[in-house]
């Protein structure tokens, strides 16, 4: 009896053609050995806790680096404060002259 192709041999299992053919039985046994080795090596592989912890640590570090600097805000505040102070100091000095000008025009 001719040997079936590999796919059919696997489908039939040990009870089929392999029961009478030593070569095919060997091939099926070898396939089982391959399956067992890979199963033992890879079943249930999961990410170690270090993966998530390491990613969170890197994200925290990068977040710190990317936090915007407060310096522009402070300079902005100082600029506005200086402008308002200057206006408050100069306005009373020029107010009488402004009133005079407005009265002359009016």
């Amino acid at each position: 009896m001719p040997c079936p192709d590999f796919e059919e041999l696997v489908r039939e299992g040990r009870a089929g053609h392999a029961a009478q053919c030593a070569e095919c039985r060997d091939l099926l046994e070898a396939l089982e050995a391959v399956n067992a080795a890979f199963d033992a090596a890879f079943r249930g592989v999961a990410a170690p806790p270090a993966v998530a912890a390491g990613a969170r640590a890197r994200i925290a570090r990068e977040s710190c680096l990317r936090r915007p600097s407060p310096v522009p805000e402070i300079l902005d505040f100082i600029g506005w404060a200086a402008t308002l102070t200057a206006a408050a100091l100069l306005l009373p000095r020029f107010l009488p002259q402004l009133e005079e000008l407005l009265a002359r025009l009016g």
Partner: protein, 169 residues
């Protein structure tokens, strides 16, 4: 954003790690890649508009990170079929497997052509689901089935050939 990211870590970290492990062939490299992928996901999350599904997006980031890493590091060994012109991804997956246990699995995987290795390893990591391997590697289901069929046939035949001289001696 942080809640969404924590959800992604919870749901995808194992998949990312397994995909990276299957493509890189060693745990330490897979760990590093998986961390890198999670950081990239965190950075890209605000701009993610759902043009593809979340899983497709995450897996493509993982594959790209692995390919970049394999580009940077030359393969540790040269497989027998390196002389043949092959697809870039296959060529870059030529790194030999290094896993501590059991020794048989790494030795077996290293006998396979590079393009079969990731599919074979991932198949066993993903509870023998062809669909999951196809999704993770972005390969057609038929291609995955062919790769796995060929890989297992190749290894089984090789083991039988190795046993024959021992039996005859």
């Amino acid at each position: 954003m942080e809640e969404a990211f924590e959800g992604i870590v919870r749901d995808y970290q194992d998949k990312i790690f397994r995909l990276a492990f299957s493509l890189m062939g060693e745990r330490a490299a897979a760990e590093e890649i998986a961390q890198d992928v999670l950081v990239r996901v965190w950075k890209g999350l605000p701009g993610f508009r759902g043009a593809s599904s979340l899983s497709t997006w995450i897996y493509s980031i993982t594959r790209n990170c692995c390919l970049s890493a394999l580009h940077r590091a030359p393969p540790r060994t040269v497989s027998l079929d390196d002389a043949a012109p092959r697809h870039a991804a296959e060529r870059h997956a030529a790194a030999a497997w290094s896993i501590p246990e059991p020794p048989g699995a790494a030795a077996l995987l290293n006998r396979l052509p590079a393009r079969y290795r990731a599919a074979a390893a991932l198949f066993y990591m993903e509870d023998q689901s062809y669909e999951e391997v196809s999704r993770l590697l972005d390969l057609p289901l038929g291609t995955v089935k062919t790769y796995l069929f060929q890989a297992r046939k190749m290894l089984a035949e090789e083991l039988v050939r190795e046993r024959v001289p021992k039996g005859g001696a």
